[in-house]
């Protein structure tokens, strides 16, 4: 065993209170420096034990614990208040949303554009002969409409799918359903007029 190995063993043996091994003992017998370190380490361990015994009873005073518990309670109150505020805010939002829904929600869902013909035909009767204007907004429930007779471009009517094969003129007389906004919703060719032409 050399001095480097010895020093490590000396420290660990002194700390643990174990007696030196035979190899260490042999080295200590022949090395005065390591032997001196061995006695110093044993003394230091004893002193350290005394200091540890005195220190082990040390702890912070009760006021520290009280202060920490007060801080915990204060934090809990803050969290509780925040949580309650959140719950109230969420509940208020639900109530407001519900009230807005009751006030603003239409009594019937809006009709999709492709349902115009159905809407118009239901308003004017299935056999009324009206054809929905493509792309026109649906009639709202209870919306007032008016029917106006007018002359329309026959090619435009043909694009709407009206049977105008027998029509030679550029214009035809037709009944046009107008919504409250004045925009056309449906068209019906006056067959009598058409036939007269």
């Amino acid at each position: 065993m050399d001095c480097r190995e010895s020093i490590s063993a000396v420290v660990e043996n002194a700390r643990s209170g174990r007696p030196p091994s035979s190899a260490l003992r042999a080295h200590l017998d022949e090395c005065p420096r390591c032997s001196e370190r061995w006695s110093e380490e044993r003394i230091l361990t004893r002193e350290m034990q005394i200091l540890a015994d005195r220190m082990v009873r040390r702890q912070s005073p009760a006021r520290v614990r009280k202060a920490i518990e007060r801080e915990f309670d204060r934090r809990r109150r803050v969290v509780r208040v925040r949580r309650m505020a959140f719950v109230f805010a969420a509940a208020a939002a639900v109530v407001v949303a519900f009230a807005a829904g009751v006030i603003w929600w239409p009594s019937a869902p809006p009709t999709a554009p492709q349902d115009i013909a159905r809407t118009v035909s239901s308003d004017f009767g299935a056999d009324a002969g009206f054809v929905a204007v493509p792309g026109a907004l649906p009639l709202a429930d209870g919306e007032f409409v008016r029917v106006e007779r007018t002359e329309l471009d026959s090619s435009a009517l043909a694009r709407m799918g009206l049977p105008l094969d027998d029509v030679d003129d550029d214009t035809v007389v037709a009944d046009v359903v107008l919504g409250e906004d004045g925009l056309p919703r449906a068209v019906r060719v006056d067959e009598d007029v058409e036939a007269a032409n």
Binding site: E47, I50, A52, V64, F72
Partner: protein, 188 residues
């Protein structure tokens, strides 16, 4: 109930604490307060700094400031890490030597009744902080090298070499006193 509490790890207690469980705080306090206080006392040499450190460590735990992350280490290591930083900052921004910065020497005053302990305490107080903390953890608190390494977040070999170096420095400082017959070695 008591046994059930004893089985809980620090990390379980921390989760309960975060959920608002006050007994979990009490349990963590009972487990760690005294050791943290002694650590802060030894690192600062001041009782008031040690008290303030302990209080602040637990207040940070409650507040979740610098939140503890289980994946990065144990709760105990986190507590010691916070205590170390706080004590250093309170003593002098981490730049001033602790022995010079700590005024009042509260602990020393209480130990004056025992001359031998005072000598060792003074020698310990003059050690650089990195040596002083391993002496405190391994020799005074009697933790294993592995446990100290976890708390200090450094390799076991570093703890061992620092302790050996610290003990050599302490022995060198105590040797003149031993020769003068102040400490135990000269008596025995």
């Amino acid at each position: 109930m008591k046994n059930e509490r004893m089985r809980r790890t620090d990390e379980e207690l921390y989760r309960r604490l975060r959920g608002g469980d006050k007994p979990a705080l009490a349990e963590l306090y009972e487990r760690h307060e005294a050791a943290l206080y002694r650590y802060a006392l030894c690192m600062s040499g001041s009782r008031s700094i040690a008290e303030e450190t302990v209080q602040e460590v637990f207040c940070r735990l409650i507040a979740g400031a610098g939140r503890f992350d289980e994946r990065r280490g144990t709760l105990e290591a986190w507590l010691y890490g916070v205590a170390r930083n706080l004590a250093r900052r309170m003593v002098g921004g981490g730049t001033e030597p602790v022995a010079e910065a700590a005024s009042g020497d509260d602990l020393l005053g209480e130990l004056l009744e025992d001359e031998r302990t005072v000598s060792l305490y003074r020698a310990l107080d003059e050690l650089p902080p990195r040596y002083r903390e391993v002496v405190l953890l391994c020799d005074l608190e009697e933790r294993s090298y592995e446990a100290a390494a976890k708390l200090l977040e450094c390799p076991v070999g570093t703890v061992r070499s620092r302790l050996h170096r610290a003990r050599l420095l302490l022995s060198a400082r105590l040797a003149p006193l031993q020769r003068a017959g102040v400490v135990a070695g000269a008596r025995g």
